[in-house]
Subunit: 204 residues, 2 copies
DNA sequence: TTTTACATACCGACTGGTTGGTATGTTTGA
DNA sequence: TCAAACATACCAACCAGTCGGTATGTAAAA
């Protein structure tokens, strides 16, 4: 092996993520990326066969980080309580904590960004996005099944759409906070979601 | 006046809206719009001084239609019950009905699309987006104040973030349904929101 | 141990095509 | 007949992507 180019590759993805969340995939040119980074076209196209391939690699990296974060917060929540309902409430609380401690406004979710430009991407990328949504659902669905077995819900609900509701609120809150330029919206909406879960599975 | 160009103008906006919700503003070229419509550049730039101005006009039209829809459903809900809480639950139900009766998947919200490309737009457009969010909040906030005066919430909530939560869930559900390619998600999530409001203001 | 061969990382000029936008001419209806 | 509603022809800037070349490292043969 020659010089280690992995840091250059990472820096390209970092810059791309930042710019794409501000201007969308189609709004970011290869030139704008390399100019911001101070590298050349040669470097860019050495690491990615084309712009689309870079976008795909970026989304996969984002998805992987997402998964790691979810597993991390989940395992922390599971250590903080033995009760599945309490665990989930703590899980939401850890998300609140995370968004609350951010010094800069959360820049947004790449999946959402791509979703509002879906037809710009190839079938494989579109399928990866859909599969990711189903994966998030699957993870939380199992959790809700356990909760529902122990705590009968006050209103008839299904575990799948209940699982979806977490990401629904997150994605919605990202947009609202960006649109209104009010970062605090994310934590506020997570609190409402916690309220809902509490009320839905209240034992009293 | 010579020929009536208003229908051409409308058709340009219709096509733009459709394409932008598929590919994002930057992903839609003026050529792609006029080709799809079968008109020429002359027609396009006769009606709009540039692409940005078209995007701004489109967003304002979308915002106006939005407002009309909300007022329409609200007045229908107000006629169907005298109780403010019931009115709001009916209001959500009318949204459910609307999304349920759509023959094609809901294409998405222009405000959300623009929001994930915010830096592509000028300050005036960005402010219009932020003001729209605040306007939605304001409308529902008054409603919730009335509800809260009559029905003490089971958990401590503020009317502003509670108002935001409706649009949060809508915007989130739009993304989830597009990403997963499952239109039914929108109605499912609205049902969860209705659940939350019911449980939060339950009298028993 | 040195030299040759080779691979990776990167540079920057260049290309064909697309972009948003303009200048000017033509048609159409009141 | 006159202004609004288009069409046509064109331009300069920008776009993604290519290509010949260079710099820098590793590996293996002599």
């Amino acid at each position: 092996m020659a010089r280690d180019g992995s840091s250059t590759r990472d820096k390209i993805l970092d810059t791309a993520e930042e710019l794409i969340l501000e201007r969308g995939y189609s709004g970011v040119s290869v030139d704008s990326m390399i100019n911001k980074l101070g590298i050349t076209k040669g470097a860019f196209f050495h690491h990615f066969k084309n712009k689309q391939a870079m976008a795909e690699a970026l989304l996969h990296r984002f998805g992987d980080q997402d998964l790691v974060l979810m597993e991390n917060l989940r395992s922390r929540a599971e250590k903080l309580s033995r009760d599945p309902l309490q665990q989930f409430l703590i899980y939401i609380g850890l998300f609140e904590e995370m968004f609350d401690s951010m010094t800069e406004p959360f820049p947004g979710c790449l999946f959402a960004s791509y979703t509002y430009e879906l037809q710009q991407f190839d079938e494989a990328t579109r399928r990866y996005i859909a599969d990711s949504v189903l994966r998030w659902r699957g993870e939380l669905q199992d959790w809700f099944e356990i909760i529902m077995a122990q705590y009968p819900p006050r209103l008839p609900v299904d575990s799948a759409s209940l699982a979806d509701s977490f990401n629904t609120i997150l994605e919605g809150a990202f947009i609202m906070s960006k649109a209104a330029n009010q970062p605090e919206i994310i934590v506020q909406q997570l609190r409402h979601y916690k309220n809902y879960i509490e009320l839905l599975f209240a034992t009293d």
